[in-house]
Amino acid sequence: MASIKEIRTHIKSVEQTLKITNAMYLISSSNLRKARKQLNDVEPYFQKIETTISDILHHSPEIDHRFFDKRPEIPAEKRKVGYIVVTGDKGLAGAYNHNILKLAEHKLEKTPNASLFVVGQVGRSYFQEHGIPIDVEFLYTAQDPNIGRARDMSELMVELFLKESLDEVYILFTKMVNSFRMEPTVHKLLPLDPDVFPVCEDHSPYHQHVTYVPSVKAVMDRLVPGYVKGDIFGALVESYCSEQNARMTAMKSSSDNARAMLQNLNLSYNRARQAAITQEITEVVGGAQASM
């Protein structure tokens, strides 16, 4: 059996850890509440923008525009693909970072000509450690997503796409299905592809002839960057919410583990103490009897 002193130091260290994990649990749960609210606010916009675009795409089949250009003349192995990978700024969030990075690696294997744009410190250091080149200028934090950051990112992506530095742009983020299930997801940003949008079920008669004012090009020039911005913002918010949720769950289970461990340790501490006392009494009694 371990000595009393050993058990006592062990208890102390577990107590310290418990304090940290418990504090992190509280912080992430309050952050989560904020992020949830933001997610609830942004979700209608996100969904509406998606359905509206899909509506427009499905009802005006012949749009000839640079954002819809899939560049079929470029063979698959030469296509330059950009991936925006949204990770957390900190670890200790369960499998959150691991899952999204695994997905990113999987995608990278399939595309020889990929460039990475990483959001969040964990992802950046991971790719640097593994010697995978990333865009070092692309420095955005995953904390507190705001629309300004999404705008900067979307402007960059649109610019690279139009300059033909990238032929396809995807965003990899963690979707929060519910509070127990988070899924790493890939979403195609550019070029717009009518096939990836779900066909909306309503067939009202108006859709057939949609007028674009003043012209298709002018509308699409504004609409598509707005769509990309909205999409990136939605992805950032969703990821942030997932991160906080993952951290909260992870910290809760580690706090619970620490408490269970403390209970066991206290038990063995008391047992050891009792054994020591009993032994001392036996010694005293034994000594007294011998001297009698």
Binding site: K48, I49, V210, P214, V219, F233
Partner: protein, 134 residues
């Protein structure tokens, strides 16, 4: 649609759902000038510039400042997806004026094309707020 005197209007921003409900008329700043919508409008998709928007609900014209975005118009349904939308009473005049001054100041300085567009967009947003506030 049984009721032809109104259409269903949705004004949605990333931060909130600004207005959802029936409206009798709508005037919004499109790319090439103001555009008015009444029920039974032909299906149109168009882009919105930062500026002042008015919609008529329950016989009352309600003004608001909006940012850039786009609109999808159908005979009985109009959806506006914009960067921001604010009621006049929510706009902080001082802040908007300060933002306008800042944007103008930046525009006077030498800057890259990108920065120029940013400053111009910021100026347009500030002007839209001030216009709706007046």
């Amino acid at each position: 649609m049984a009721d032809q005197s109104t259409f269903y209007l949705e004004i949605i921003t990333p931060e909130r759902q600004f207005y959802i409900g029936p409206a009798e008329a709508l005037v919004f700043p499109a790319v090439d000038g103001e555009m008015g919508v009444y029920p039974g409008h032909e299906p149109v998709v168009t882009a919105i510039e930062p500026g002042e928007l008015r919609y008529k609900a329950n016989g009352q014209w309600e003004p608001a400042a909006v940012g850039s975005g786009f609109a999808e118009i159908k005979p009985d349904y109009v959806i506006l997806l914009v960067g921001f939308a604010e009621h006049p009473e929510e706009i902080d005049r001082k802040r908007a004026e300060a933002a306008k001054a800042r944007a103008e100041e930046r525009l006077r300085q030498k800057q890259s094309i990108q920065e120029y567009y940013h400053s111009k967009a910021a100026l347009a947003r500030a002007m839209a707020r001030l216009k709706a506030k007046r």
